[in-house]
């Protein structure tokens, strides 16, 4: 009503002040939250190219500032000092972590951040449950409105799952917990049962009773199911898990947005939820595995025995750093395929030095990145960017795969399954159907690997090791590349 009609801004009638809702939202406040939501959309939009990405991130900051200031200005503040202290403590910790974290540790950091969103959602949901009046969702008796209960229940449940699932993902990625899948007997039946109980209790909570015991049980069971869902999933499936938890944190925020009737939260939740869902889809497709099969877990836990036995008696060639340096220098084009092993060995900087030395020798150097290389989407790209590799030398799988036939040297460093031809030739292989790099078409292949003993995550032997043109460079990835650099 305070907005002139000719601006064309539509204000839903329910948002007008004379409504019966306890805390009627003024149109200006609703508008501010909408602007914040639009800023968040622009933040993601900016990521369509590295050139516009930083502007996008600024839009995100602006949107967050608008949301924060609007909330602080429009509520009676009983405790401003405490709030500012809480923001300062949290913000200070976050800022220091962000400045100090190693780029190789990004997957853990993102998992940890997801867990915080989840926990915050649980806390907000609990606070809204205890004091619904503050959120304008209390009925005349001071109980939570029926229609808000379902959103609150779902929000708290998703938040709790996000929290405990992310904690497990963090522990696995950080190495505090083995990356191997932990499979409990009957886990599918147990998980289904717990999920059904959670949904049943939320329905009961909505329809019949808002007793604290039910709210607490929903929360506790959701923490439990988050834990149970992630422990059977192995380390290299973490890109899917992280994306999925990313998605959950978005849905949790959206559910809270429904409870609080807040457009900024709803828009953001929907954006983040779909972002995580799309990333999960891309990751699953890059492994040619169904989302359900990844989430069901247990992959790679039971197929390693046969492969390890079969490979002992096949001949392979061992190369030295000097051999590699010689052939690399003679090449016209070299394609480097980095994998998780490069991140573990922190070899990205020496690798870039190698690339520079080769370029000075007139060699064309390209980097080829598989969508699931590393432990999170885009992990390798960040590491190469950190090492100052220009992003226009880095290529995606489908853009570079037909170049191997014209390539003199394929240089595999810390990757394994993503170059395994079994994905093309062997229908019995667990990775059959996964798109892989055709390194076999290159004239020479160098394969940096710590030992011949280990197999990739999928637990299958790799025919590339035994090809005529393959030379195995056994040793720590970083030391090996340093030696090559010395020889160049």
């Amino acid at each position: 009503m305070s907005v002139p009609a000719e601006t064309g801004i539509y204000i839903p009638p329910a948002a007008m002040p004379p409504a019966e809702v306890t805390h009627a939202v003024s149109p200006w406040v609703a508008l501010a939250y909408l602007v914040a939501g639009v800023c968040f959309i622009l933040a993601l939009r900016g990521l369509s190219s590295p050139a516009s990405s930083r502007r996008g991130n600024r839009f995100g900051m602006v949107g967050m500032t608008i949301a924060l200031v609007t909330t602080l200005v429009t509520h009676q503040l009983a405790s401003l000092p405490e709030i500012l202290v809480a923001i300062a403590i949290g913000g200070g910790i976050g800022f220091i972590i962000a400045r100090r974290i190693l780029m190789t540790a990004m997957p853990q950091l993102v998992a940890a951040f997801h867990s915080l969103v989840g926990l915050a959602a649980v806390l907000v949901g609990s606070a809204a449950y205890l004091n619904p009046g503050a959120f304008g969702i209390a009925d005349a008796m001071g109980h939570v409105l029926t229609e808000s209960r379902v959103e609150m229940g779902l929000g708290v449940a998703i938040g709790a799952i996000t929290f405990s699932g992310s904690v497990i993902a963090f522990l696995k990625l950080n190495g505090n917990m083995s990356g191997a899948p932990i499979t409990l007997p009957m886990r599918h039946a147990i998980n289904f049962l717990i999920l059904a109980v959670i949904l049943g209790l939320i329905a009961y909570f909505t329809a019949a009773s808002d007793a604290p015991a039910i709210f607490a049980t929903v929360t506790a069971l959701s923490f439990l199911i988050g834990f149970l869902l992630i422990i059977p999933i192995g380390g290299a499936d973490m890109p899917v898990v992280i994306s999925m938890l990313n998605s959950y944190s978005g849905w949790a925020a959206a559910a809270m947005g429904f409870t609080l009737h807040n457009t900024a939260m709803i828009i953001t939740g929907a954006l983040v939820g779909s972002s995580g869902a799309i990333l999960s889809y891309i990751m699953c497709k890059a492994m040619n595995r169904g989302f359900i099969s990844v989430i069901a877990g247990g992959f790679g836990a039971d197929s390693s025995g046969g492969a390890a036995a079969a490979k002992a008696d096949r001949p392979w060639k061992r190369g030295s750093a000097e051999d590699a340096a010689f052939l690399l220098k003679e090449a016209n084009q070299v394609i480097i395929i980095p994998g998780y092993g490069m991140a573990v060995a922190q070899a990205q900087h020496v690798l870039r030095e190698m690339g520079d030395l080769l370029k000075e020798a007139g060699v064309t150097v390209k980097y080829a990145i598989h969508p699931v290389a590393g432990r999170m989407p885009g992990h390798m790209n960040v590491l190469l960017a950190e090492a100052n590799v220009p992003y226009d030398e880095v290529f995606e799988l489908e853009d570079i795969n037909n170049e191997f036939a014209q390539t003199d040297v394929a240089f595999v460093i810390g990757a394994n399954d993503v170059v395994n031809p079994a994905a093309k030739d062997d229908p019995g292989s667990p990775i059959y159907g996964m798109p892989v790099f055709d390194v076999g078409k290159a004239k020479t292949i160098f394969f940096i690997k710590r030992t011949m003993g280990g197999v990739g995550y999928a637990g299958v032997d790799n025919d590339v090791f035994y090809m005529d043109q393959t030379m195995m460079l056994l040793g720590d990835a970083k030391k090996m590349v340093e030696e090559i650099n010395k020889a160049l």
């Binding site: 995100g60 909330t71 405790s79 709030i83 962000a98 992280i242 999170m376």
Partner: protein
């Protein structure tokens, strides 16, 4: 706002998210995750409301805890995204290396 208006916003925002995220270049998927992380902490709005409300001490403390957690995410998420994005550079080398590339071409 009634439920249907909110639902409409949500559904349309899901579609916007779908198209915007598909346009994100795969090279920036890690910054995408960290920035979505930061913006999903807009949940701090709910935390602030309960922290600011008088009358229920437990709800207030839960709210304050949530404010602190979400702040870690907001500041940490945007800062680490900024740090990552600053590393993505085009082929622009410092002078000596640029001349080496010039020789090659």
């Amino acid at each position: 706002m009634d439920f249907i208006s909110i639902l409409s916003i949500f559904v349309l925002a899901c579609f916007v998210g779908y198209y915007v995220v598909w346009s994100v270049t795969p090279a920036l998927h890690t910054p995408l995750m960290s920035v979505t992380n930061a913006i999903s902490s807009v949940i701090i709005v709910g935390a602030l409301i309960s922290a600011a409300a008088a009358g229920h001490p437990a709800a207030k403390w839960l709210g304050l805890a949530a404010v602190a957690l979400a702040s870690v995410n907001i500041f940490g998420g945007f800062a680490v995204t900024e740090r990552m994005l600053a590393m993505y550079k085009k082929k622009e080398r410092p002078a000596p290396k640029a001349s080496a590339e010039g020789d090659k071409a």
